[in-house]
Amino acid sequence: MSPLHLCLLLSSGLFCIGLAAALTRGNAILVLLGIELMLNAANLNFIAFWRFGGGPAATGVVFVLFSIAVAAAEAAVGLALVIAVYRHRKNIRLQEVNSLRG
């Protein structure tokens, strides 16, 4: 098994953990964290392919940089939403925040 295989296994593992958390946990913050984890798994793949793949370009690294920046933006907006919802409903359980009625 080549190192790239191992890296891909690691990233798929992380992705699935993130997915499971996003699907099962009721707390909005944890769901958000699961999504962050999935993003990270994707970034990991970029780096792995840059490092072990054959391509000459460093596009993977640049893409990861952008991805990290976007993840930061996503986290900021997502958590702001969580706080807004909490302020409104005193609760951040997603099952109960399923309507836009407020």
């Binding site: 946990r25 009721g26 707390n27 944890l30 302020r87 005193k90 359980r93």
Partner: protein, 385 residues
């Protein structure tokens, strides 16, 4: 699967409130670095903003008034030292004034001057200390406090060489003063008074223009003059709100009418005003001291008619009050002709000034509450009595 985040635990009790979200109840004190003694504030916080503040005191209750009713008039004198232990000389004077009114004793002119000198030195001492404590509450790592204590030490040395004790002076007597200040003592006092302006200038250079201090104190803990008057607030706190009430002018007790001095008043009633009023009062005190030291007449310091042993004032009542450094300190006495007062009651300025603490603190943060309390200038010995 419950997803409750386990935040807080037993020590952190979240109080749910429909309108304010989660409130946190913090008990500041009785052992807290900035409650100036054993004083407790039960603060309810929304974030760091105070929505409720309940002062709890009485940890230092010593039965002061009942003690006064069960000992002779003279024996209460050393206890008044221990009310506001920074200002024993003023407390002594207020009590002596009450007893003198009760017994109809006259005070020799020299003693009146000596009393003014000591009371104004006490005011310097108290305000200097307060400025130091207040800056310490603002987080000044001790430097202003140490400077204040350096100067306070000089005044205490004067008190010690005159009365024998640094803080528990027990100096005033009914009908005069216990000891006649010798010439070298007066020279020492003159030296101190001459040098005090320089100290105040340096202290103000250190802090008064400091942007952080101004940002911390201006607009914080605003007190409305109407509320202050109706709550009976007195002293620099009242004057900071803009009410120019000073018993030295209003009552003109002692020989104060002979001196020329001004009464500084604030316009905002906030913490900065309370701090500045005290600094300005110190400058006025220096003026009074210069005049009193220059005009000190000769003569005895004790009314020859006054007697120590077997002192029994005739039946009646009297209220003696002076402008103490913290506000109006008064003693109310009822005599039934016996050796003990029938009723002995203190009007403690810091206790009455403290009653409006919550009104000043609401809407401010914990950090503000600490300096608001500091600017009230309390001594727990007087609050709890």
């Amino acid at each position: 699967m419950s997803l409750t985040p386990e935040i807080g635990g037993a020590h952190v009790r979240a109080v749910h409130d429909e309108f304010h979200g989660d409130l946190l109840e913090v008990s500041m004190g009785p052992h807290h670095p900035s409650t100036h003694g054993v004083f407790r504030m039960i603060v309810t916080l929304d974030g760091e903003t105070i929505v409720k503040l309940k002062p709890v005191f009485g940890y230092l209750h010593r039965n002061h008034e009942k003690l006064g009713e069960n000992t002779t008039y003279l024996a209460s004198m050393p206890y008044t030292d221990r009310l506001d232990y920074l200002n024993s000389m003023s407390n002594n004077w207020a009590y002596a004034l009450a007893v003198e009114k009760l017994a109809g004793l006259a005070v020799p002119e020299r003693a009146e001057y000596v009393r003014v000198i000591l009371a104004e030195l006490t005011r310097l001492l108290n305000h200097t200390c307060l400025a130091g404590f207040l800056m310490q509450d603002c987080g000044c790592s001790g430097t202003p406090l140490m400077y204040a204590f350096r100067e306070r030490e000089k005044i205490l040395d004067l008190f010690e060489s005159l009365s024998g004790s640094r803080m528990m002076c027990n100096y005033q007597r009914f009908g005069g003063c216990r000891v006649d200040p010798p010439a070298e003592w007066l020279a020492g006092a003159q030296r101190l008074v001459d040098g005090y302006s320089a100290f105040l200038d340096e202290f103000e250079a250190l802090l008064t223009g400091n942007e952080i201090l101004m940002a911390r104190t201006q607009g914080v803990g605003r007190l409305d003059p109407a509320l202050a008057v109706s709550a009976g607030v007195a002293g620099p706190m009242l004057r900071a709100t803009g009410v120019g009430h000073d018993l030295r002018k209003v009552d003109g007790y002692g020989v104060y009418p002979r001196f020329e001095f001004r009464v500084p008043v604030g316009a905002h009633g906030d913490t900065y005003d309370r701090y500045m009023i005290r600094i300005l009062e110190m400058r006025e005190s220096i003026r009074i001291l210069q005049q009193a030291l220059a005009g000190l007449p000769g003569g005895p310091v004790m009314d020859p008619k006054a007697k120590l042993r077997g002192f029994r004032p005739k039946a009646g009542e009297a209220y003696g009050r002076i402008e103490g450094p913290k506000g109006e300190i008064g003693f109310y006495l009822i005599s039934d002709g016996g050796p003990n007062p029938y009723r002995y009651r203190v009007r403690p300025p810091s206790f009455i000034n403290l009653t409006i603490l919550e009104d000043m603190c609401l809407g401010h943060t914990v950090a503000d509450a600490v300096i608001i309390l500091g600017s009230v200038d309390i001594v727990l010995g007087e609050v709890d009595r």
